[in-house]
Amino acid sequence: MSTSVLHVENMTMQFGGVVAVNNLSMEIDEGEIVALIGPNGAGKTTAFNCITGVYQPTNGLISFYGEPMVCNHPQGKMKKNYGGKNADLYTSSHVLSPTPDKITYMGIARTFQNIRLWKSMTVFENVLTAKHMRAKQNVFSATFRTNRKEEARMRAEAEALLKEQGLWDVRDDVATSLPYGQQRRLEIARALATDPKLLLLDEPAAGMNPQETLELASFIHDIRDKYHLTVFLIEHHMDLVMNISDRIYVLDFGSLIAEGTPAEVQGNQRVIEAYLGVADDE
């Protein structure tokens, strides 16, 4: 049996009276590529934001490599208004809510649905800055340049990453001047620069043409093998999802309605009704 990388247990995210993610439980094992699909507004990105610490889930437990990472139970006003399940399951356990940077430090990196590059910085600086987190230096050694070795290492690694992504020739261009597909690649390169163990991709193929989508599929496979990553992605391009995923989770109205291999999910009646059937119209 392989090691569990990400373990999500009974995760509920409630905003006011709206339950965006309802009692989601899932398991991602080392080296897998797992996809999360579902119609618009199903709560996929909210689930991502809970895992990466942008939101604190209202209830539930998230573990990373077996270690509890995020844990919460309904508190204060939410106690009365809570609309999810298992309200009492975690009341006795420790509340854990690390900030996104701490979660990234543990080894979870992400990209964004709407590209969030550092706009006026160059391609090279974008990747180099993501190396900042793991650099062994302090503000004095960095200012007075006694961290030369560390700085050189960061630059060399950023250079290697960019060369590999085919972005080395445009390294001095401002990030936003790149074509859309390259910006997506740069965002992935930047996420890889934080040395993650688990990579979360939020709609990596959004806005890409079929050719680019095809390239992306082999690209995701390549980086998974090269960096020994586990990949978890949200995607609407069904050919991409069915092509690369080992397993798929399907969300609808915040609840998990199906999980399994691509073949199993494609044959699932509820999934066809809620999501895939609609996609056929395109």
Partner: protein, 398 residues
């Protein structure tokens, strides 16, 4: 080869900028010792040096980290008072603090050092310099310490709210320093005076006459060194992290940059240098009074940063010099009622007219340079660009 590629080499533009700065500093020493020492030039140079340091430090938080802070006058006040309180000579304290029957602190830092090295000759000079430098550094540290405490709650705020909170802090600090219960330390609403000023740096011969004048060179040197350190910081890994926070906070946090820590760091470092500038301002003005560190002072500095270009150190420095030269010197004749040449009197030139013209000039600058004089460029970038252009032109010609 690989190794060379990875190391960021100093660009020729940066090198030229450093060389030009050094030449200008040397030129100031030469001018100072040849020209009439009472010339307006040196007064405005001193003031511009102080302002350029505050402007760059404000730019570090506002322009490079994207935190809209308006507490600069407060931090300068802390620096100025720290410097003043620690360097008023023991024998003068009685007369300075006469309203409160003497000061609570009865030593001066340079006095302590002079106790070690002697008061006369070289020993006295070393004691003075060490004491003044230590006081300047402590001025920065006190400002940074306060910034840390204020930053804990305030840096959770964003944009306008942060501006209001920091502005409020500066006003509170100003009121607290005028409180007469603290009179034995701060001298209440009265001024502190008698501490070493820039002219204390002039080298005197045995008879007490000035041999080498350094009073305009020293503030410029200190400001240049501090700005150099800030430039090093901005170009380091931490500087890149600051810029990442400015560009996109959510992405910065997702890439592992601890927002609270880095914002706090930028805020404290900026305040440190504002505190140093405050000490320099005290030396420039020769007196310290809480009344002079109003919010109008912060706006003046903010105006300099905006005119120079938010996110450009060169712009802030250039704008400080232009601003101070114009407002204090070049436009003075507008107040005097006559043109600077000939003997023509102009009827509508009267007191206050200078500020009218000055405001119009600023409006014109802001209209024509929407992103400030320098935008986000630095001198070194411009030099590199021109050189690259010249090179391609030459190649095209061949």
């Amino acid at each position: 080869m690989e190794h060379q590629l990875n190391r960021k080499k100093m660009s020729s533009g940066a090198l030229i900028t450093v060389i030009v700065t050094v030449i200008l500093l040397v030129a100031v020493i030469v001018l100072e010792n040849t020209m009439n020492a009472n010339s307006m030039l040196f007064t405005v140079l001193k003031k511009a040096a102080v302002y350029s340091l505050v402007a760059v430090s404000l730019n570090l938080v506002n322009g490079f980290t994207g935190l809209f802070s308006l507490g600069q006058a407060g931090f300068m006040l802390l620096g100025a008072y720290t410097y003043g309180i620690l360097t008023i000579p023991a024998e003068m304290r009685e007369s300075v603090y006469y309203i409160y029957q003497g000061s609570a602190i009865n030593f001066s830092l340079q006095g302590l050092f002079q106790g070690l090295f002697g008061t006369a000759g070289v020993g006295g000079a070393i004691g003075l310099i060490l004491g003044v430098l230590l006081a300047i550094i402590l001025a920065g540290l006190v400002a940074a310490g306060f910034a840390y405490l204020i930053g804990l709650p305030v840096l959770r705020l964003k944009s306008d709210y942060l501006a209001i909170a920091t502005l409020g802090f500066a006003e509170i600090i100003r009121a607290v320093f005028q409180w007469d219960k603290l009179g034995r330390v701060t001298n209440g609403a009265n001024m502190l005076k008698g501490f070493p000023t820039f002219s204390s740096f002039n080298i005197k011969d045995a008879s007490g006459a000035v041999a080498v004048r350094l009073s305009a060179f020293m503030p410029l040197l200190i400001a240049a060194l501090c700005i150099f350190v800030i430039i090093l910081l901005i170009n380091s890994s931490y500087g890149r992290a600051f810029k990442a926070i400015r560009e996109d906070e959510i992405a910065a946090e997702a890439m592992g940059i601890n927002l609270a820590k880095h914002k706090q760091m930028s805020f404290c470092i900026s305040s440190f240098f504002s505190g140093v500038a405050g000490a320099l301002f005290a030396m420039f003005a020769a007196t310290v009074q809480a009344r002079s560190f109003t919010s109008a002072m912060t706006y003046e500095i903010l105006l300099i940063v905006v005119i120079g270009g938010i996110g450009s150190v060169s712009g802030s420095v250039l704008a400080s010099f232009l601003y101070i030269f114009c407002s204090e010197w070049w436009l003075r004749f507008l107040d005097s009622g006559a043109l600077p040449f000939g003997n023509i009197s102009v009827p509508f030139f009267r007191n206050g007219f200078r500020m009218v013209v000055f405001s119009v000039i600023i409006m014109i600058i802001v209209l024509f340079f929407r992103r400030g004089i320098m935008g986000t460029n630095e001198f070194s970038d411009l030099i590199n660009q021109t050189r690259r252009k010249a090179k391609t032109k030459k190649e095209a010609a061949e």
